[in-house]
């Protein structure tokens, strides 16, 4: 039943229902379905839900002052045909990622409205109290309640929200990475856009390596040391195929370029076979597409691998040393350049600045490893 929620919600919103009122009506219809369906299952569950939800919405709005206007609106709209379903879900994506929302509100609303998760599930996934998440969602609903989407929203905003969800990746009752992939798949089937495909490919390529990214006690395993036998090759193949189809459209964007880099990593059977020269070329593309200092930092790593640690350090020297992970990158390059003492000091500094527990422990171990070396 959860799978039907976005489509039903989308129909109500398109017919002119206010977002919050539409969601209440859909919830009422779901409760009604739980009561009625066991004894009298409908032939078309979605049509049933739409009919009941719309009736609930009309009943609810009759009571308030906007009654006349809403009824006229309801009157004017023809009943939905099956062909509109994709449009309606898409409309919901754009509404949930509306630029008027803060990133955390947009994420919460997307998981609730498009993903059909309960408030309790979302709160648990983000490790905040349920009451806090309930407020976050209802504020988000109020913010978008006056928004009328008469033209398509910004795909880039929707993609950013989905990537935020993916990067949280907590694995409790709800695995946010898997949920983000599910939602991006849904979006990709509704909209023909190379960057949507690019993001889906990127998520699949990262997700395929997830099991090998941490050790048995949650410790971070760097890419070069990962057990490549544990990579999900079917998922990698799917990501690569989606990426190639997107690249063939010749409308390059950030996500496609990032996915291309991930694909090159996934393609190497052993770390030493990694095609760093091509990876560097993709970083150059990526740097041209974005203004991100993080991209230039990652590019310095690729320079270090493709042209040697001294060239990497030269690329690094052009960047701001307050960037997150700047010291970790510098430490890695200095170690490869044969300066373990400098590297050990930089690893320790990087550890002290890291806000990620697994990353901090990893960097501390790196410093300890170099300090323990006989000199």
């Amino acid at each position: 039943m959860k799978e039907l929620v976005p489509a039903v919600l989308g129909v109500l919103v398109r017919r002119g229902a206010d977002f919050a009122a539409a969601e209440d009506a859909v919830q009422d219809a779901l409760v009604e379905a739980l009561r009625v369906w066991p004894g009298d299952p409908p032939r078309d569950p979605k049509a049933w839900l739409i009919t009941v939800a719309w009736r609930r919405f009309v009943d609810a709005t009759r009571a308030d002052a906007a009654r006349r206007r809403r009824e006229e609106l309801a009157d004017r709209e023809p009943p939905p045909g099956p062909a509109r379903e994709r449009d309606d879900t898409l409309r919901l994506y754009f509404l949930c990622a509306h630029p008027s929302l803060t990133p955390s509100s947009a994420v919460a609303l997307t998981l609730r409205a498009v993903g059909g998760l309960t408030t309790r599930q979302i709160a648990a996934a983000y490790l905040v109290p349920e009451a806090t998440m309930a407020q976050r969602i209802s504020r988000a609903k109020r913010t978008v309640s006056g928004v009328h989407l008469d033209r398509p929203g910004d795909v880039a905003t929707v993609l950013r929200v989905l990537y935020l969800v993916f990067n949280e990746g907590y694995s409790g009752d709800v695995d946010l990475s898997a949920e983000a992939i599910r939602l991006t798949r849904q979006l990709a089937s509704a909209i023909d856009h190379p960057e949507v495909a690019g993001l889906l490919a990127l998520m699949l390529l990262h997700h395929a390596r997830r099991a090998s990214r941490t050790g048995p006690r949650g410790e971070l395993v760097p890419l070069a040391e990962q057990d490549r036998g544990r990579w999900d090759t079917a998922m990698i193949a799917e990501g690569v195929a989606i990426l190639q189809a997107a690249l063939a459209r010749d409308r390059l964007g950030e996500f496609q370029a990032q996915a291309a880099i991930a694909a090159l990593h996934a393609d190497a059977r052993v770390a030493a076979e990694t095609d760093w020269v091509q990876i560097l070329e993709w970083y150059d593309e990526l740097a041209a597409l974005t203004d991100s200092p993080i991209v230039r930092l990652n590019r310095a790593v690729a320079v270090g691998e493709a042209d040697g640690p001294r060239a990497g350090l030269a690329a690094l020297a052009a960047l701001d040393d307050t960037l997150p992970r700047y010291r970790a990158v510098a430490a890695h390059l200095h170690e490869r350049a044969g300066e373990p003492a400098v590297a050990a000091r930089l690893y320790a500094e990087a550890a002290a600045r890291s806000l990620d527990l697994a990353e901090r422990d990893h960097l501390t171990r790196q410093a300890a490893r170099l300090n323990a070396r006989p000199t």
Partner: protein
């Protein structure tokens, strides 16, 4: 979506601008101060940024394991010399800037004379355990 701990100190922080010990305030000034703090928490609940918060008593002690079969060692309380935490609040916000903004707002709680205390609050980011993609 980053969590921060806001620490309010009884002692140990640099002196506040409006530095009058609370027992020397007028009763209504104390009431106004408490109301400000509660309103602040309510507004964060409303905005979906509140995670948790508690006030702590000014007494406390250090505890240490002292070996198999022996009771833990305790020390103190030595409230006069130690950094003393009065309470804490955990917030979940979109950015570091927002966390600083909220800490600033909390520091403006009214004190003696109904004027802001301008007390120093400690702002500490949580270490996360997410697996953000880095390579």
């Amino acid at each position: 979506m980053a969590k921060y701990l806001l620490l309010k100190h009884y002692r140990g922080a640099p002196a506040a601008v409006n530095d009058v010990p609370m027992p020397q305030w007028a009763p209504e000034e104390v009431t106004a101060h408490v109301a400000y703090m509660n309103d602040f928490a309510d507004r964060l609940r409303e905005s979906g940024e509140f995670v948790d918060g508690q006030a702590l008593a000014p007494v406390g002690e250090w505890v240490r394991y002292d070996g198999e079969g022996r009771p833990p060692v305790t020390d103190g309380p030595f409230a006069e010399t130690k950094d003393l935490i009065a309470g804490w609040m955990v917030i979940d916000v979109d950015s570091h800037e927002r966390a600083v903004e909220l800490a600033g707002e909390l520091s403006a709680a009214p004190g003696a004379g109904g004027k802001p205390i301008h007390e120093w609050l400690e702002l500490r980011p949580f270490l996360t355990t997410s697996h953000t993609i880095t390579e």
